[in-house]
Symmetry: C2
Subunit: 251 residues, 2 copies
DNA sequence: AAAAATTAGTTTAAATTTCACACGAATTGC
DNA sequence: GCAATTCGTGTGAAATTTAAACTAATTTTT
């Protein structure tokens, strides 16, 4: 499971040494491209946006943080490969996952030509803690990450920007929170992702007017101040709501 | 140049019969994935949104319309491959091109496992006419296209939706128009892409307020009505304009 | 038990943006 | 010169966004 990087190196060396000869130039050439999937798995903890990473064991990037990825098998859909990685690494099912972009520069992997298809996932960190615990896996703060293996920092930046935009158009944020959450938590989440302060009253009004929150009747406990109401997210209502928006030409 | 589909079939058959044996299960498996790039090239002509297509010569989809694509070579960036296809097919340089999504379902190509990375391009149809003329190549109306080869209709739909959204956030439309254009033409373009009527005065106000149009001082000629002013697009200004927009949470 | 600190939650007013809408001017074709 | 067509412009109503002041609930401190 943790082999993906190693396998990739093997793959590259093998391809070089064996020099697979098929008699068909194009095939030989073509065959040397590896396809992988990388997952940028976001979480939200301690009021910070985090991303699930693993230490790289490839010499060149030894010890640096790397996204979770693997090669795509010839008999699995790319979407499925992404989902497989997500499940293997988090032990979680039924999570948000969406393709973001493919990175295909020639030199991006030092050992072989590898094109990678990148997915973003948003998960609830608490649920993950109950799942598999692998001490190579780690949640890292997005805001302070500097260097990463391969082109993974660039990929992370693209995904973060993607998330910032996406979360303002679709209520994805709920995937990052517990089933029941206070409005304060929701706002903290938005502020962490967008890296900006939002007005509490307007934020509140906005979300109530969307009518996607379910009042659970419960309240926060063990908070050193007036407890806020806990809400759930109305997935049904959201899915039924067609996107009727139109025509806001808006550069 | 037109060989891509045929080569792909050959590739598949060869891979099956030769059963390349490397001694490494994963490599053997992996080797069977082909990588292609497909370009959805949009144009605007006769007040209709069009897309540049080619007749498919693969048995299964014989005569059906297909996007322009080719295999990615192991020594070229994916972005470069897309650009190469665009140049080979249109003879044009310096055109708008952007990656949209990767399609990686197992059964999407009948002859082999092929993952395709899809790009959108917007070009000026007039310029293209002056370039290469290939009578297999054809501009087709996006609005009336029904069936296409492979999963290309699905891909086109995704790209059309992508364009509709993108054009409301960024002034891409100008790539589809001549260097000098009237506001009427610009509005017709938006209406064609969005498939909606827009208010002329508000449209006009919107674009002037963005301050991205250059008044050329020239006017339309040979129109059977009062001629409109011709404008150019201020690319410099657009590129300098950072996207300062923020915080319109807006599902 | 009273005071201080902290956050929840509500209402209102101002500023801005969006949207619908009508009429005189320029040109061509007849 | 008259009909047909499109160009070009301004205004007010409605909706949305933004900013802001106050009360309420709870915990901690004194």
């Amino acid at each position: 499971m943790k082999q993906s990087a190693a396998t990739l190196s093997q793959l590259a060396e093998l391809a070089k040494t064996k020099n697979i000869n098929t008699g068909l130039e194009k095939l030989e050439d073509h065959v040397r491209i590896g396809i992988s999937v990388d997952c940028v798995i976001f979480g939200f903890d301690e009021n910070e946006l985090k991303v699930l990473l693993i230490k790289c064991d490839l010499k060149k990037y030894l010890g640096m943080w790397s996204l979770l990825g693997d090669l795509v098998s010839s008999v699995e859909d790319v979407d499925q490969a992404a989902y497989r990685i997500l499940q293997e690494r988090t032990g979680m099912d039924d999570v948000y996952l969406e393709q973001v972009r493919t990175f295909g520069q020639v030199g991006r992997h030092p050992a072989a030509r590898v094109i990678t298809i990148v997915y973003c996932s948003l998960i609830n960190v608490q649920h993950h803690k109950l799942g598999i615990s692998d001490n190579e896996l780690n949640w890292q703060k997005v805001s302070t990450l500097k260097e990463m293996a391969f082109d993974h920092k660039q990929i992370l930046d693209v995904c973060h920007a993607w998330l910032q935009k996406r979360i303002q158009e679709h209520p994805l944020g709920f995937s990052l929170l517990p089933k029941k959450f206070s409005l304060r938590e929701l706002q903290n989440l938005y502020e962490a992702i967008l890296d900006a302060k939002l007005d509490r009253r307007n934020f509140r009004k906005k979300f109530f007017s969307m009518d996607l929150l379910i009042d659970t009747g419960e309240y926060e406990t063990n908070v050193p101040h007036r407890p806020g109401k806990l809400y759930g997210f109305n997935y049904d209502k959201y899915h039924k709501k067609e996107r009727k928006k139109l025509l806001g030409i808006d550069f």
